[in-house]
Subunit: 214 residues, 2 copies
DNA sequence: GAAGACATCACACAATTGTGTGATACTGAT
DNA sequence: ATCAGTATCACACAATTGTGTGATGTCTTC
């Protein structure tokens, strides 16, 4: 029988080593490569055939969501399982829309993970049981609230603003650094509050961290 | 030769499985148990002999710092290696003061981890090379700034306040929920800003998350 | 029983944030 | 060529946050 070729992408070396050690024990799975961010994963796909990719949601350089979109564009046949510590319900829908096949929490068991890889390889959708509930919750939310459970598109400029806010800069200081007026920064913040469905900067920064934006 | 008895404590099942798989490959190391939080780790120590404990810093129920203090009190001979994704320099000093033997980032390699366990068992201090720099930095900081690199003591009441701020409540709303005046809440915030060496609520919440406080 | 940490509150004021409303200009996609 | 999205800015005003200063009662701990 042909083994399932798996690529692992995670920015933590120990996680990479650990996952490889777990998966290599299963006869039907073969770990063919490792990557420490989304960009490396894409590079690897250009050179070698992969069936399933395990992708960490929180990664520097290119995060899980962005990587998923790129992979699905260039390699639509590859199955993607997102691995995360984050149980933010609101991002799940975005991931599946982007083309992810599965979404597993890192506190899943190794058996569940292996089963997930096999299921994904057969084309089945995979999701942590803890998350099913959250997902349904986010789908059945009041649509008037503007939160349809989808992670909104945050522009590059907006990310710049969020990062500076997270570094405790005031609106004035941010305006100076970006060479724009305070009104502009205030407008960016205002737009972000609506997009991200938060009430203030604290909530915004917290959610941005949860989403792996900064 | 007697094997080094290792206990692993991490709230992520996959991390536990992965670490066990990595460590079991080394002939001189034996994983004798697993725990998914600090409390479980302590319970385990009461029943079995352990040489080295790998402790995740971020855990629910009882975090790494608190667990370290408890372990050192009851089982001073056990070596503790802290594992973390967090490279906040300011917490390292606290950990060593509490009695930790090592502090490794999760993006260390498996070789480094195994060497770390062996070194710790021999009584050597272990630290990620990435962190040495940060630690020295935090030690040589201007003491006038009130930041001596030690994580300050945050009281229960203050934690309550931080949690509510992180949930986007205003000072008024927090005061109502805690049945105190807004002045009191303002004072708590003011004290926290100084203790945690931050400029505003955004910085405070971010650092609280980094420190595993909330 | 004095010292120190904790939690509570007051009052005033400056600084900053957040909101409402409207406008201009550029860009890329249909 | 039009439209949607992005980025920019203005002005005004309300709300909230942050700061300076000082005070009181309680509870450990030494």
């Amino acid at each position: 029988m042909e083994k399932i070729k798996v690529l692992i992408a995670d920015d933590h070396q120990i996680m990479l080593d650990g996952l490889r050690a777990i998966l290599n024990k299963d006869k039907s799975i073969q770990v063919v490569g490792k990557a420490s961010n989304g960009l490396e994963a894409l590079e690897f796909l250009k050179k070698e055939v992969v069936d399933v990719i395990l992708l960490d949601l929180q990664m520097p350089v290119m995060d899980g969501l962005e990587t998923t979109m790129h992979i699905k564009k260039s390699f639509p046949e590859v199955k993607i399982i997102m691995l995360t510590t984050n149980d933010e319900g609101s991002i799940i829908t975005s991931l599946f829309k982007a083309g992810a096949t599965g979404y597993l929490l890192k506190n899943a068991s190794k058996e569940y993970l292996i089963k997930g890889i096999k299921d994904a390889h057969e084309g089945k959708k995979v999701i942590s049981s803890h998350l099913t509930e959250k997902m349904i919750e986010s789908l059945t939310q009041d649509p008037k609230k503007g939160n349809d459970g989808t992670k909104p598109i945050i522009t590059k400029r907006e990310i710049e603003v969020i990062k500076l806010i997270a570094q405790e800069y005031t609106t004035q200081e941010i305006a100076d650094q970006l060479f724009v007026s305070t009104n502009t920064v205030a407008t960016h913040k205002r737009n972000l509050f609506v997009k991200m469905d938060v009430k203030n900067s604290v909530g915004m920064v917290k959610k941005a961290v949860d989403w792996g934006l900064i």
